[in-house]
């Protein structure tokens, strides 16, 4: 298998006392008879050379193996996942000469070539990969495709920044989220509870207006509904303290308990989040088809990893990537302008439109028949306040490739029966900052996403980090339970399932920036999580 063959080649060269360029190793691995090629390459290299270069190899291969596969020959998978390693026979042949994702590792010879991690994915079907050759020939299920976008507010922003717009937004949030909770508790409005006699049992659903600890270590939660507010006291010994830690301002919760004797406060017995029902059964495609979930491309940044991106798009052209018919981009296509002070000094492309043009060029590398959906992020040239509408016409014109769907952040995308909630993820910063480390951290961004699912809102807290643009409805509410929740923004890779909802925070395509360095964040760059839409299994491929 290529994994070993690359490693073996590097090793073989080392034994002969040579270092090698990674391209050279790849080329050698691609030769019909690698062993012979290695020998030839070594012969071919000048006596004083310490390093086998690609040129040496080409020379050697040309001499010895006229019939070797040309490096650029299409149709051969440059990438392997662990699972596909056992495709056996075609193994060596499958490695083509193009710079592959694994090339870096291959030179070091000691690490795995395909640095892929899998989430229990089945082996990629290499059989089919071999069956099809070039892009044009690929029989991809264009006519079988189903793609629908919901909750898109692009072009439908009706807010004019008035006070009433804000009120409408929050009311909508309350109404839609309280509906979810209503079945679970016997809700009474704050006004009514205030009139109830002391000692009675009561329950209230409201937006969290305030959470604070009392001197004695209990927690006071003030809930608000459309009639007013009412305080609930969570005793520290009730076993709810852990839950209280998770509460964010302005999310919708239900509290059940007993009224104090003076009826001024509710002693909480239980606390409910809208949450995703455990019984949630995700949908799935009827056929084997995949979607690549990526985000944070940051084209235009000095740190944009063009090579990794090329590897990724190259791979998309391989037979192995044939099932990848969808590409979902969760924001930050470009690095943007004026996102932080003196940003221009760190921009490779200073012009915002040129950034999008460059991005469009990069997007063109993606097979033409791929369905692309993208939402904006905080680096994109749209308003920062959420919900963010999709790009304006000027940028849409630039991105006129693939007939990409450009929708708002957040938006739900229904792909062949799989509901994907796409959200850029700015609120993750806040969730991570506010919640205890074990519940949300940058190292496990998906856990922070679980919290959002639990709250059924992508950015509950108002007044803090997240900016809110008031609209006629709260587009940030997760009204319908998605099957997949896809975010980015924090540049960390993480995924996992919460109540059967697959949460994926895709990494990024931008290497560590000075800022990230300064706050000790090591981004996961160059990964592409590939989702099987029929099984909702996911494979993560590394391209850097």
């Amino acid at each position: 298998m290529p994994l070993e063959s690359n490693a073996r080649i590097a090793k073989a060269l080392a034994e002969r006392g040579y270092n090698a360029e990674r391209e050279a190793v790849t080329l050698l691995a691609g030769a019909t008879d690698p062993a012979a090629a290695v020998a030839a390459a070594v012969d071919c290299a000048p006596d004083d050379a310490l390093r086998i270069t690609a040129d040496h190899v080409r020379e050697a291969i040309a001499d010895t193996d006229e019939s070797a596969a040309s490096p650029d020959e299409p149709g051969q998978s440059p990438v392997e996942t662990e699972g596909s390693g056992d495709t056996g026979a075609g193994g060596t042949k499958a490695v083509s000469g193009a710079a592959t994702t694994d090339a870096i590792d291959s030179t070091t010879a000691d690490s795995a070539i395909a640095d892929s991690t899998t989430a229990g994915s089945p082996p990629a079907d290499s059989g089919t990969a071999n069956a099809s050759s070039a892009d044009g020939d690929r029989a991809r299920g264009s006519d079988l495709r189903e793609l629908e976008v919901g909750n898109d507010m692009t072009g439908r922003s009706t807010g004019t920044g008035e006070y009433t717009d804000f009120v409408t937004t929050f009311r909508d949030r309350y109404e839609r989220l309280s509906k979810i909770l209503r079945g679970r508790v016997n809700h009474r409005p704050a006004e009514a509870i205030a009139d109830m006699p002391g000692g009675s049992d009561a329950a209230m659903i409201g937006l969290v207006n305030d959470v604070r600890s009392t001197k004695s270590g209990h927690w006071l939660i003030e809930l608000e509904d459309t009639t007013g507010t009412f305080p609930a006291l969570v005793m520290k010994d009730k076993g709810l303290a852990d839950v209280v830690d998770e509460i964010l301002m302005d999310e919708c919760v239900a509290v059940e308990g007993t009224l104090a004797d003076d009826a001024g406060i509710l002693f909480a017995d239980s606390l409910h989040f809208p949450d995703v029902p455990r019984t949630h059964r995700p949908g799935g495609a009827d056929r084997h088809v995949q979607a690549a979930l990526i985000s944070d491309v940051h084209v235009g940044s000095d740190e944009f990893m063009a090579d990794a991106w090329h590897s990724f798009t190259d791979w998309l052209h391989t037979p192995e990537a044939d099932p990848v018919e969808y590409l979902l981009l969760a924001g930050d296509m470009v690095e943007g302008v004026g996102v932080y002070p003196d940003q221009d000094e760190e921009l490779e492309i200073v012009d915002i439109y040129e950034q999008y043009e460059a991005f469009a060029e990069h997007l063109k590398e993606v097979p033409a028949d791929t369905e692309v959906v993208m939402i904006p992020g905080n680096h994109d040239a749209v308003r920062l306040a959420e919900p963010q509408p999709g790009f304006n016409d000027e940028i849409r014109e630039i991105l006129d490739v693939h007939d990409a769907q450009i929708v708002s952040n957040p938006a739900t995308v229904s792909v062949e029966g799989v509901e994907v909630l796409m959200y850029h993820g700015v609120s993750l910063d806040e969730v991570i900052a506010e919640l205890p480390e074990e519940k949300a951290s940058y190292d496990e961004p998906h856990k922070a996403m679980y919290q959002l699912l639990k709250k059924r809102h992508v950015a509950p807290q108002f007044g803090g980090h997240t900016r809110v643009a008031p609209e006629e409805r709260d587009y940030l509410v997760i009204e319908d339970v998605p099957d997949v929740f896809h975010t980015g923004h924090v540049h960390k890779l993480g995924w996992g399932k919460y109540h059967n909802v697959l949460s994926v925070n895709s990494g990024c395509w931008q290497a560590q920036t000075d800022f990230q360095k300064s706050v000790n964040i090591d981004p996961d760059a160059g990964y592409a999580p590939i989702l099987d839409l029929d099984t909702l299994d996911m494979t993560v491929r590394k391209f850097s």
């Binding site: 072009g155 439908r156 922003s157 009706t158 807010g159 004019t160 920044g161 008035e162 006070y163 009433t164 804000f166 009120v167 929050f170 009311r171 309350y174 937006l207 207006n209 305030d210 604070r212 608000e224 509904d225 459309t226 009639t227 007013g228 507010t229 301002m249 302005d250 943007g336 302008v337 004026g338 996102v339 932080y340 002070p341 221009d344 200073v350 012009d351 915002i352 439109y353 040239a381 749209v382 308003r383 920062l384 306040a385 509408p389 304006n392 900052a433 108002f462 007044g463 803090g464 980090h465 997240t466 900016r467 809110v468 643009a469 000075d514 300064s518 706050v519 000790n520 964040i521």
Partner: protein, 1361 residues
């Protein structure tokens, strides 16, 4: 001390005694809180230091060392004493280090601030990973008040002590290094640093610092990476540590380096890299490269002297590189804001030309500018206007000097002329098309010493030339005496003769700026001149653009006709071009050598000139100094806002005006007038036991004493020695303040009666809402009546004050001070500076150290104060009048107190005259005596203790910023980071929430706040003494918050105060061009523990840019009339908060000891002539220390008989008040007008790139404003229009939960989008970068996206079809 000086001080002290006796008699009557004068005469600094530290033996040692060495050196010297156990009683090593560190800080702060005690928590010894020990110094927030130098020195002292005690260096772990960087950045974001080190710098410091800097957490904001470190106790920012590292080490590296050089045990070679600013610049990043470099420097002592040059181009660099030049620096341009023009871009031709010299009104962080230039720059400069400069310091106060060259301009008719007369400047200024050159900029040598800045190449000036002339053999003395010879402005013939005869460089008068033209232009000009013709003595040459440009760059005066340029003074030009009087060019192109051609890549023709000219031609103006306007000058009375006549509480009864009469008339439920429940002190009469709030027993007229009764147990307590009162049972502090029903009506009426005044004597008598002092001792209303009558108001401590920008002056003419020689003789002046008897009003007289010049406004104010004091003595105390002034001449010879911000010591000064400039001129030593080392105005603002931040500091903060309200009304929400900055805030219920702001300072709230609400639903709560803005006649006016009235138009506020924070006390940031109307002004009891003050970036950067010199420029010190202070000041009025005692004259110095003043003033040079060596050294970019021996500075005379006199100057000026009286910044209308003027000026000045100015205004002013407001909008809180209740989030019910009233936003579209159009327009008009335009465009679209309804947009005609 000379007998003459003795007599001088005796005179002052005699008058002081006279006043003292009167005041004592008055005070003894017991009508005041204390029956004695409360301003003691200060003893010496050594005592203060010992007392504040409580370490025995320090004072003695300090006195020993004083005079022998500087305080910094003494601090280091004391380290050995501590280590050897000679001083202090410490057994442990950490104790010794601690004692030494504290003493160092105390010495440098002269024992007047709490920093040495509270700012250094402890010193401990910890273990390095290799098992060795290291020193950890644990700093606390109050270290801030020590100032950067003391902070930095404390580290050096700790290191020195460490090395003497054989403790190893601190070896930081990598995580700790990273932590420092993140933490300093975090602290800066949250609280603000004057100087923000780049991460690389922070890391570099952390890596190299030999002792560990640690400290207690000063905020709740935590670092996100590098948490839970073993050797760092907290995850929060450690404010003290951050200050020491950033404002101490990073900022004061040059100063510290001076001391490390003198110490063998301590070697900090890495400081050089900090000074050079190479950290963070080179790509090495991790500092390794820099480290290596640093080590190399340290290892090679021979390199030491060359070190300072490292940042500059190598003097011996390849010839083709051109002559040595000071490296241009962009720093001063940072955070340029709208309305403050740039005068010279960094080192740009056509800008201010550096000339060395000290004028008599110069030399203490000042820069001399020709008064004609002041007018030419559209009056933006006036005496006292602060400018940010490229070098040698960061900021200068502008002083008018007319003995330097004025500006050169091109008029609309094409004529180019130099203007050396301010009147001419005014006459032609409308016809100016281009300002080709701003003239000379006078900087004294001492400035370079003070800032440890390498000398920059000097302009070729007569004083330099004349020395070369003399050296060449000329009999200069004879020529000086020759009435027909003017050595400064010789005739053409003479200048040419001299150059030929003596083989001496051409006189500067006829030396043109050859270094500004290229060799090509030089050749073209030579050809043009050779082809010209001389008609009636005027050379006419063909007019081409190239030739014209060359002449303009050279600053050759000429006139223009449509096809010819006519040069009247052409012979020196022709000669310099190698052309003789017959217009014969005596050389050909081939004669020019290759080096001359290639010099500075052919851009500098100076070599070519020297090759063809028959004499030597020097570089005329090799150094241009970039600068821009900082703060305008100040001269105005210090009023509390709201203004207060009497410190008598009236609750809310006085209405928004706090009218005592109104309070006295208010009828309560029982039909009694003027009875109010007031919190005042409970005092008891020692004779009859009667309880009262008054200082005098109403029954037996005996002075009463405060009565301390514990609220809880009722025990009557007595104060201990320290004045603290603690209940022995309940163990808490007890105050004399109680709630009492006070008959204000009676108090008011009887006060009127006592002083025999009627209500008609004054317009209004304003009291205070409540007292802030601990015991709530009220002032007798009588004093207020008389203040109101005389039109003065009281500061918080009972004194009447007037603020003025400090400017130094060492010699004056009686005439310019609007007094006569007679006055001066009466004051004891006998001779002029040349020793001639003082006879004429225009003789120049050396000013004595404690003599001051009042601005016209101050004089007027002091006259009123004198009348008030006289009335007080006569009508209240029943004594004789003391001042008896009729006109302001009567003030001459009277004594005043001078005080600098943040200090607690006053200095006695004597009035000698008046000036129309809006500044306070005094001897540099007087200014320095008032100060303490390195008290930046901003420094002590955020003085923190456990209770939070000081209220006093708000005031100062506000003061600092209020001299530029227009800036603020533009909403200078210039946060450096676009990223969200969040700080914890506390809402009404004491709950914490995280709020986003740009930069804040937080303060404990006052007892009361003023709430102002406007029609558009915005409201703001500010401290009552907060200055607000009001729109009057299209202009914006400052007004005390409580003086705002319903119906007033206030400018719409910027985002700052909109940021959802509780009790946001926006600091005058509420000015707007768009206006709003006040609908209610109310006073409420403060219900929050803190008020938040948003730091406008301008302030920020002022601080950041001020750096080492900030305290001298534009600092407003105040003056008080002596008797007023003696009679009316009482500590009992001071607010009961830490910092409340700041700015109060707790002690007074009656005579200045030059050794004890801020040492900055010691770096004023006091010679009449600079040596030739200085000029020569400047061409080599030498370190100022190299010529130190040759130029006497103040420091050299310390401790000698000459310390009080002999301050000579190199340059005279006709009048110290020349130029505009006020900067145009103050006279122009709204912000837009100022910005237009700023951009217009930018177009006009050759040395200014208007696109860059526009770019920066957008970048630092508009964009942050828009971005900040936009952010604030999308996370704002709301407020009830009816009851003022605030909501963090919009209530679901839509209406106010408290009162059912209308709730509205606090940030509206208007405040977000107000500058978008202007910014876009400016960006277009001035051709800004596409990057900037795109940012604006993206923002504009964001605004549309938020504020426009997509479905309602009419996108085209189709919508109507």
């Amino acid at each position: 001390m000379r007998p003459d000086d003795e007599r001088y001080f005796a005179r002052i002290e005699e008058r002081l005694d006279e006043a003292w006796d009167v005041a004592e008699t008055a005070k003894e009557q017991g009508r005041d809180p204390e029956p004695e004068i409360e301003i003691p005469v200060a003893r010496d600094m050594a005592d203060r230091v010992e007392n504040i530290l409580g370490i025995d033996g320090v004072a003695e040692r300090v006195r020993d060392l004083e005079g022998e060495m500087s305080r910094e050196e003494a601090a280091l010297e004391l380290v050995t004493d501590f280590v050897d156990g000679n001083v202090g009683d410490y057994d442990s090593r950490e104790g010794k280090i601690e004692g030494a560190v504290r003493t160092a800080v105390a010495l440098l702060t002269e024992g007047v601030v709490a920093a040495p005690i509270e700012g250094i928590d402890r010193v401990e010894l910890l273990q390095n990973d290799d098992g060795t020990e290291f020193v950890n110094v644990y700093y606390a927030g109050p270290i801030r008040s020590a100032g950067g130098t003391a902070q930095a020195l404390s580290v050096l002292v700790a290191d020195y002590a460490r090395s003497l005690l054989d403790v190893d260096e601190y070896k930081p772990r990598d995580v700790e290094v990273e932590r420092y960087a993140e933490e300093i950045a975090l602290y800066d974001k949250e609280t603000g640093l004057q100087y923000t080190p780049k991460d690389k710098e922070s890391k570099f410091i952390a890596k190299h610092i030999p002792v560990m800097l640690d400290g207690e957490a000063t905020s709740d904001e935590e670092v996100s990476g590098f948490r839970d470190l073993e050797r760092v106790d907290t995850n929060s920012a450690r404010g003290g540590m951050c200050l020491v590292a950033a404002e101490g080490i990073a900022l004061k590296a040059p100063k510290i380096q001076r001391y490390t050089r003198d110490l063998d045990e301590v070697d900090w070679p890495w400081l050089q890299d900090l000074i050079d600013g190479t950290i963070g610049k080179d790509g090495a990043g991790d500092g390794d490269a820099a480290e290596a470099e640093g080590d190399a420097d340290g290892g090679d002592d021979a390199d030491e002297d060359a070190d300072p040059d490292a940042a500059e181009p190598e003097p011996a660099a390849d010839e083709a590189d051109g002559p040595p030049r000071a490296e241009p620096s962009q720093k001063f341009l940072r955070d340029l804001i709208a309305g403050r023009p740039v005068f010279t871009h960094p080192s740009e031709a056509g800008g201010f030309r550096l000339r060395y010299g000290r004028a008599r009104n110069h030399g203490f962080a000042t820069g001399g500018v020709h008064p004609a230039t002041m007018h030419i720059v559209d009056d933006f400069l006036a005496a006292g206007t602060q400018i940010k400069t490229e070098r040698p310091g960061k900021a200068h106060g502008v002083v008018p000097v007319d003995s330097i060259e004025g500006p050169t301009v091109r008029l609309a008719n094409g004529e180019v002329r130099r203007i050396d007369d301010p009147e001419e400047a005014k006459a032609v200024r409308n016809g100016i098309e281009k300002v080709l050159d701003l003239g000379e900029y006078l900087v004294n040598y001492g400035e370079f010493v003070e800032n440890n800045h390498p000398l920059a190449p000097a302009s070729y000036a007569p004083e330099w030339w004349v020395q070369e002339f003399e050296a060449a053999g000329a009999d200069v003395r004879a020529l000086r005496d020759d009435p027909h010879v003017d050595l400064e402005h010789p005739t053409v013939d003479r200048a040419l003769d001299w150059a030929r005869e003596y083989d001496c460089p051409l006189h500067p008068e006829y030396t043109y700026l050859w270094h500004d033209v290229s060799v090509d232009a030089f050749e073209a000009l030579a050809d043009a001149v050779a082809a010209g013709e001389v008609v009636e003595g005027v050379l006419a040459i063909e007019r081409t653009d190239a030739v014209r440009d060359a002449l303009e760059s050279l600053l050759v005066e000429h006139a223009a006709t449509p096809d010819a340029l006519r040069i009247p003074t052409w012979r020196p030009l022709a000669r310099s071009l190698g052309i003789d009087d017959g217009l014969r060019k005596e050389w050909s192109e081939a004669d020019l050598s290759t080096p001359a051609r290639g010099y500075a890549d052919g851009e500098n023709a100076i070599r070519a000139v020297n090759e063809v000219a028959p004499f030597e031609v020097r570089e005329r103006a090799p150094t241009r100094i970039g600068n821009r306007m900082g703060r305008p000058e100040k001269s105005e009375s210090r009023d509390l806002s709201p203004a207060v006549h009497t410190l008598f509480p009236i609750n809310e009864a006085g209405g928004p005006q706090r009218d005592v009469a109104e309070a006295a008339n208010e009828m309560d439920d029982t039909g009694h007038r003027g009875r109010h429940e007031l919190q005042v002190s409970d005092r008891v009469c020692p004779d009859c036991g009667e309880h009262t709030y008054a200082a005098l027993c109403p029954d037996c007229e005996t002075h009463t004493e405060p009565h301390y009764e514990c609220n809880d147990c009722g025990t009557v307590c007595e104060p201990d020695e320290a004045g603290r009162v603690e209940c022995p049972n309940c163990e808490w502090e007890v105050t004399a303040a109680t709630y009492q029903e006070v008959d204000v009506n009676d108090a008011y009426r009887s006060a009127l009666e006592t002083v025999g005044e009627r209500e008609s004597a004054f317009e209004i008598l304003k009291g205070v809402q409540g007292l802030t002092s601990r015991n709530k001792t009220p002032e007798p209303i009588e004093k207020g009546v008389l203040r109101a009558k005389n039109g003065v108001t009281s500061f918080k401590d009972g004194t009447v004050r007037y603020d003025m920008t400090d400017l130094p002056v060492t010699a004056v003419r009686p005439e310019e001070l609007d007094v006569t020689a007679d006055h001066f003789r009466e004051l004891g002046y006998e001779t002029d500076i040349d020793g001639e008897p003082l006879r004429h009003d225009d003789q120049v007289v050396e000013l004595r150290v404690q003599d001051i010049v009042l601005s016209d406004g101050a004089a007027e104010h002091m006259l009123k104060t004198a009348d008030f004091v006289d009335d007080l003595l006569e009508q209240f105390y029943g004594l004789d009048r003391f001042y008896e002034v009729n006109e302001r001449d009567d003030l001459v010879g009277e004594l005043v107190f001078g005080m600098a911000p943040h200090t607690s010591a006053a200095t006695v000064g004597r009035v000698v005259g008046f000036t129309s400039a809006a500044v306070g001129y005094a001897h540099p030593y007087f200014h320095a005596a008032k100060r303490r080392n390195c008290f930046h105005p901003e420094t002590e603002i955020e003085y923190q203790d456990d209770a939070g931040w000081h209220r006093k500091t708000i005031e100062t903060f506000v003061e600092d910023r209020l001299d530029d309200p227009r800036t603020d009304d533009f909403g200078t929400l210039v946060e450096e980071l676009d990223g969200a900055i969040e700080v914890p805030s506390i809402d009404e219920r004491g709950n914490r929430s995280t709020q986003s702001v740009t930069a804040v300072s937080k303060h404990p709230s006052q007892d009361h706040l003023v709430r102002i609400e406007t029609r558009r639903g915005r409201s703001i709560r500010v401290t009552p003494d907060h200055t607000m803005l009001r729109v009057v006649d299209g202009g914006i006016q400052k007004i005390a918050a409580n003086e705002l009235e319903v119906g007033d138009t206030v400018p719409l506020s910027p985002s700052q105060q909109n940021v959802p924070m509780d009790a946001a006390t926006s600091t005058a940031t509420d000015g707007r061009i768009k206006t709003d109307e006040v609908t209610s002004v109310s006073f409420l009891e403060s219900d929050v523990e803190y008020t938040y003050n948003l730091t406008v970036a301008e302030t920020h950067t002022l601080a950041a840019n001020d750096l080492s010199v900030s305290q001298c420029d534009g600092d407003e010190d105040c003056v008080m009339l002596l008797m007023d202070g003696l009679l009316n000041f009482s500590k009992t009025f001071l607010p009961d908060q830490r910092g409340g005692r700041m700015d109060a004259p707790l002690v007074m110095s009656s005579r200045i000891d030059p050794s004890e003043i801020d040492d900055e003033a010691h770096n004023v040079d006091i010679v009449r002539e600079y040596p030739l060596e200085l000029y020569e050294a400047s061409r080599e970019l030498a370190d100022p220390e190299e010529v130190e021996e040759l130029i006497q500075i103040g420091e050299d005379t310390l401790g000698t008989d000459g310390e009080y006199h002999g301050f000579d100057h190199t340059h005279d000026t006709t009048d110290i008040a020349m130029g505009p009286d006020l900067s145009a910044y103050k006279t122009l209308g709204d912000m837009m007008e100022k910005m237009d003027a700023q951009l217009e000026l930018a177009r006009k000045l050759r040395a200014v790139d208007e696109t860059d100015v526009a770019e920066r205004v957008i970048e630092y002013h508009f964009l942050p404003d828009i971005i900040g407001n936009l952010r604030a909008f999308s996370r704002q809180e709301t407020r009830c229009l009816d009851c003022g209740e605030k909501y963090r989030r919009m209530p679901l019910s839509g209406e106010c939960r408290e009162c059912g009233g209308r709730v509205n936003l606090t940030v509206h579209e208007g405040s977000v989008s107000k500058y978008v159009d202007t910014a876009i327009e400016v960006a277009d008009r001035f051709g800004c970068r596409p990057y900037t335009k795109q940012r604006l465009k993206v923002l504009e679209q964001s605004l549309e996206s938020i504020f426009e309804d997509d479905t309602n947009k009419q996108s085209g005609i189709a919508d109507f079809m």
